[in-house]
Symmetry: C2
Subunit: 430 residues, 2 copies
């Protein structure tokens, strides 16, 4: 609900005549789409942000991104704490104190730490970008700071919103710009619980919790898969990486491996990528990043838990075991619910968009997946949609952003117990 | 393994010069594809069956269909019995005798009953088709019987193989032909356990098992959804139903609602259907029909069990309850494994086919889904594939056909128990 309220405030602010560069107010649907897209830190946009909105409008968008990003991290972390606390598991995040004794002071301290961490991360990206913009691209210091601030905050929140009409395509070979933004996106996307644990004991990987192991190694694995498949599928594509030098290709592949999982920056033209890349990107977007971070998708842990469930079933094991720990059945059920709900949403969204537009199927499916996973990549479709399709995208972004947290907390908030258990019956499946 | 052997024998028979109408033997890949497609009762074909193969070759194909169809029904039914028997549930199929005392005589009796039932079903379709072909289409009685026999057996096994190059498009308005084939496909696709129970107590739906309820009402529901969505999406499509009269549209929609779930007959040109229909068809194909029947896909019960799991999770219920019966956790896990494994196979197959062909994305995805769900519909792609892509399709058909049964039986065959249970740990998902 808080998200809806923030999105409404953002819409009103963007409707002010001083927010957009054209005469008068922008259309309501345009302002609403920009606001929802920003607060859900998705980054899809129906207009060119750099020219359509004035600096005031851009600042509003950046503010929404910041509120949305910090909001999702804190809410996600608190929800995770709450779920763990209710279930009596010793909390690893609150310095080993029991989580079900969370006092208001603890929560304030936690929030402060989260804000500090993310501001520091963003600051790092902002400084690198500002220096690079000023020193290598002949920008005035004023413009360089503004562009550095905007793209740094955008990267630290995995928003993927850029002031350039072609996103970051012009920087495809620039290690500094791409590298700093990749660090922001990758680290921010791990999620605060993982970051906290890594900071405390990054030298002792054997003491990591199952959650941290899965998120960390899963992220690294998906990064490698994303980069290599991007290189393999796009190496000779004349519309994307074909004309680039080998050096630029490698930088582009790093961006092509990290950004699609959560941040909608692009360094090549996604209107020209091959169908193979589109499909792998859709899978990567759907999996997403770490829980309680700025990333979208169903989250790496959800995906891995399901993979282990399948593995256990194929091997005929009674328990699902990940690095010597048993995964309880209600966690498995949560993971299924999130994954299947996500597939259902993307399916329904794709069918709706197909009905409302005349575009090729894969373009539309890509757009729906990008919205649900709050990634914000687009094969140049968003700008040409009718208002009805924009509404569909807004709904998808909203569900994708708050849906998984809702499912997660519903487990703890709304548990019902029947007084008696019904008789079992075993339908044949498969 | 038995399936592989039958497929190999079929390949050898189809390689005989008298099987194909051209000079000499057909290419090995062509014969192998036809054999695998027939024994997996999929019905995809790289050549025009009516002209490429001689009547001898067609008879071989029909024999493979019959062996494959009866094989899958008996194996599926036995596997279901075995799973239930091991778990001590009172068996509903063996006249209330306990299933874990299955004697060889019981199995023989069961097999005989299955064969009798399916032969009767096929005979019904064959007779209707033969009469209709002879009386309304000016065929000689000899030709009419052969065409009736071929298409009747093909429908009774949900194979979807037709002797006409355009499948059943010419019969789109013929209630007799379409109706009889729909009956064969729908009834055959419910699966023997459901059919047995329906025969025993079709007047007392309150006494049905959960499995029968789910399969029966699920089939009816999917039928309605399939027909109405097909009508809605194709009513004005000039390439499919646009030019037809309203009467023909209704018949065509019945076919378009039943056949896609399992049998690859088509009464309209699937190369011209809209993207919306393609997507809904892919979903319907993936869900498929009833367990231990001739249908493919992940099966209706699997789909519904997962839907109820999600429902229970959203409501915060501890147990998953379907019509006053609790669904045990290992059944839930089986369903997840089958559904996610299926999604993975279709994804991998689609990526492979995209790499191997230059066709539009949705055509390729449709083909992969059709092969995995052993449906056999094609947007006119199968005939233009390179040999490597044919191999991909063969693998998909094979996994789709025997994969789910394997998962189901692995549960009963291969259960391992650790002597100790590991400590629980609860990763954050979502
Ligand atoms: K994003
Ligand atoms: K079939």
């Amino acid at each position: 609900m808080a998200y809806l309220a923030v999105a409404l405030i953002g819409t009103v602010l963007l409707l002010l005549p001083i927010a957009s560069s054209g005469p008068g107010s922008p259309p309501i649907i345009t302002a609403m789409f920009a606001s929802v897209s920003s607060v859900c830190i998705t980054g899809l946009s129906t207009v060119d942000i750099g020219t359509y909105w004035t600096p005031f409008g851009q600042a509003v968008i950046l503010g929404l991104v910041q509120v949305g990003g910090l909001g999702i991290v804190t809410l996600g972390t608190l929800a995770a704490l709450f779920v763990r606390g209710r279930l009596g598991v010793r909390d690893r995040m609150m310095a080993q104190r029991d989580a079900h004794t969370l006092s208001p002071g603890d929560v304030r301290g936690l929030l402060a730490r989260i804000v500090r961490f993310y501001v520091a991360l963003e600051l790092f990206v902002v400084v690198v970008l500002t220096l690079r913009f000023a020193l290598a691209y002949d920008m005035s210091w004023g413009k360089a700071s503004w562009y550095g601030l905007f793209h740094g905050v955008s990267a630290g929140n995995s928003a993927g919103i850029a002031l350039y009409p072609d996103s970051m395509v012009r920087f495809v070979g620039d290690w500094w710009v791409v590298g700093a933004m990749c660090v922001g996106v990758f680290v921010g996307g791990l999620g605060y619980p993982v970051l906290f644990e890594l900071r405390e004991r990054w030298r002792r990987p054997r003491s990591w919790s199952v959650h941290t192991r899965m998120t960390f190694w899963g992220s690294v694995g998906l990064l490698v898969i994303g980069c290599t498949s991007f290189l393999a599928f796009e190496w000779t594509n004349p519309g994307t990486m074909g004309p680039l030098s080998v050096h630029d290709k490698v930088v582009g592949a790093l961006a092509g491996g990290i950004f699609p999982r959560t941040a909608g920056f692009n360094t090549v033209d996604y209107g020209a990528i091959s169908d193979e890349s589109m499909l792998t990107h859709m899978v990567l977007m759907f999996i997403g990043g770490g829980s309680a971070g700025t990333a979208g998708g169903i989250k790496i842990t959800t995906f891995l838990v399901l993979a282990y469930v399948m593995w256990a079933e194929v091997r005929g094991e009674r328990d699902v075991v990940i690095s010597h720990r048993r995964i309880p059945e209600d966690t498995q059920r949560q993971a299924i619910t999130i994954a299947l709900g996500g597939i259902g949403c993307v399916m329904a969204g794709t069918i709706a968009l197909t009905l409302l537009t005349e575009q090729p199927f894969q373009i539309v499916a890509f757009e729906a997946m990008s919205a649900f996973a709050t990634v914000g990549l687009s094969a140049n479709l968003t700008a040409h949609l009718p208002a009805s399709a924009e509404v569909v995208l807004m709904v998808l972004m909203f569900i994708g952003r708050v849906g998984t947290i809702t499912v997660m907390t519903s487990l703890a908030m709304n548990r019902r117990h029947r007084r008696f258990r019904l008789a079992e019956e075993r339908p044949i499946v498969g």
